[in-house]
C-alpha cells in the first residue's frame, strides 16, 4: 500500500502524544500510541512493511493484528482528508 500524508499538515509529539494540525481547515487531531507510531512512520517515508514490523515489536502483537491496525488507521486518515493522493 502506497500511502503519503498531506505535506500541508503540521504535527508534533507534545507531552507524549502526537497532535496534527490542519491550519487550512482549522482542525486538530490527537493520536493514540498505535496511531502515533504509524503516523510518524508514514511521515518519515517508511513502507507499510517497516511500520507493521515496528507495531509488532512495540506492542507485542501478531502480524495479522498489526496489518489490520495499519489498514484501519490508513482508512481513517483517508476519511479525515489527511492523505495526499498518490
Amino acid at each position: 500500500m502506497n500511502v503519503k500524508i498531506k505535506k500541508e499538515l503540521a504535527f508534533r509529539r507534545i507531552a507524549g502524544e502526537v497532535f496534527i494540525v490542519d491550519a487550512a481547515k482549522a482542525e486538530m487531531h490527537e493520536l493514540n500510541s498505535t496511531a502515533a507510531l504509524i503516523w510518524e512512520g508514514l511521515a518519515a517515508g517508511e513502507t507499510e512493511k517497516v511500520i507493521v514490523s515496528a507495531l509488532i515489536s512495540e506492542f507485542e502483537i501478531e502480524e495479522k493484528t498489526a496489518r489490520a491496525d495499519f489498514a484501519d488507521f490508513v482508512e481513517e486518515l483517508e476519511k479525515a482528508g489527511l492523505l495526499a493522493s498518490v
Binding site: A10, R12, I14, A15, E17, F19, V21
Partner: protein, 279 residues
C-alpha cells in the same frame, strides 16, 4: 508696501502638515499610522490612546479610508515572500515585513480597525514565538496569569470578580504572549470583551496558565499536558491558514507547555476568593 514687508519676514514656524499621524506600541510592536484623512487617525487615537508611543520603530502604514461591509467577516492572511496581505470586507492591508512599510485601506470605525490590528498582531506574535489567546489575564504578585476559555467559560465573570477584589486585569478577552530571553511575558492588551476597558501598556513575566471552569466551589487541580495543549490550540487567535502557521502553533505550544505551569481552575461566582488559589 507694508504688506510686502510682512511677506518678506521669515517664517518662524514650519508650515502645518496636512498629514495626521499616530504611533502605537502593542505587545512590543511599533505601529505608525499616517493619513491625509484625519477621521481614521482620530478613531485610532480614541480607541488605542493608552498605547500611544510616538516614533517607536516598527511598521509604518499609509492609511486611507475605504467604505466597505464586514463581509467576508473573517480576515484572510496571505504571505508571499516578505509581502503580507491582510484583508476582509472592510479593510485591506499590504505590508512589507522586511522594510516595515505598507498601506492600509480601511473603514473609519473601531470594529474595522480592531479586526485589522487583531489580525496583524496575532500574525506577528505567532512568528515571534508567542501567542494571541482567547483568555482572561490577571496580575498577581507582579506576575501574569492567563485563564483559557472559549465563549461562556467565564473569562469576563472571573475578570470582574478579580477586579472587584483589587487585582489588575490585563484583559478579559484577548491576551498577548511573547517569548523573550528564554521566557514568556504577557503584554498589556487593548483587546477586551464585556468589560470594555482600554487596557494599559506594560508587560509581566508569565506565572502560569489555567484552564477555566465555573463551579460551586473554588478548586485548583493538575492538568495533563495533552488536555492543556488541546485547549491552548482552541483558544489561539489565528487567521493565518498556512502550514507554516500550524507548524508555529505547535512549536510555540510545545515550548509554552514545557516552560509554564498549567492547572485547571474551577471558580465560584460568589466572590474573588479564587485569587488565593492562583499560582
Amino acid at each position: 508696501m507694508a504688506g510686502w514687508t510682512a511677506l518678506r519676514r521669515p517664517l518662524k514656524k514650519a508650515p502645518a502638515s496636512f498629514l495626521s499621524r499616530i504611533g502605537l506600541e502593542i505587545a512590543g510592536f511599533g505601529l505608525n499610522f499616517e493619513s491625509d484623512q484625519s477621521g481614521i487617525i482620530s478613531v485610532l487615537r480614541r480607541r488605542y490612546g493608552k498605547f500611544r508611543a510616538a516614533g517607536k520603530p516598527g511598521f509604518s502604514l499609509e492609511v486611507s479610508g475605504a467604505p466597505g461591509s464586514q463581509s467576508p467577516f473573517k480576515p484572510a492572511i496571505v504571505l508571499t515572500g516578505s509581502r503580507l496581505e491582510i484583508g476582509r470586507g472592510d479593510f485591506n492591508s499590504s505590508l512589507d515585513l522586511d522594510t516595515g512599510s505598507g498601506s492600509l485601506r480601511a473603514a473609519a470605525n473601531e470594529q474595522c480597525l480592531d479586526a485589522f490590528l487583531r489580525s496583524l498582531i496575532s500574525f506577528l506574535l505567532l512568528r515571534s514565538g508567542g501567542f494571541m489567546l482567547h483568555s482572561a489575564g490577571l496580575v498577581k504578585n507582579g506576575k501574569a496569569y492567563l485563564f483559557l476559555g472559549k465563549s461562556g467559560a467565564g473569562k469576563s465573570t472571573l475578570s470582574k470578580l478579580a477586579a472587584a477584589a483589587g487585582a489588575e486585569v490585563i484583559s478579559d478577552e484577548i491576551n498577548l504572549l511573547r517569548f523573550e530571553k528564554g521566557r514568556f511575558r504577557a503584554y498589556g492588551s487593548p483587546f477586551w470583551g464585556e468589560m470594555r476597558a482600554d487596557g494599559r501598556p506594560g508587560s509581566w513575566p508569565l506565572g502560569g496558565i489555567h484552564l477555566l471552569g465555573k463551579a460551586r466551589e473554588n478548586s485548583l487541580s493538575a492538568c495533563p499536558g495533552g488536555e492543556a495543549l488541546k485547549l491552548l490550540l482552541r483558544c489561539l487567535v489565528n487567521f493565518d491558514k498556512s502550514p507554516r502557521a500550524a507548524e508555529l502553533a505547535l512549536k510555540n505550544s510545545a515550548r509554552l507547555l514545557a516552560a509554564v505551569k498549567f492547572g485547571r481552575l474551577k471558580f465560584s461566582k460568589a466572590d474573588g476568593s479564587f485569587m488565593g488559589l492562583v499560582k
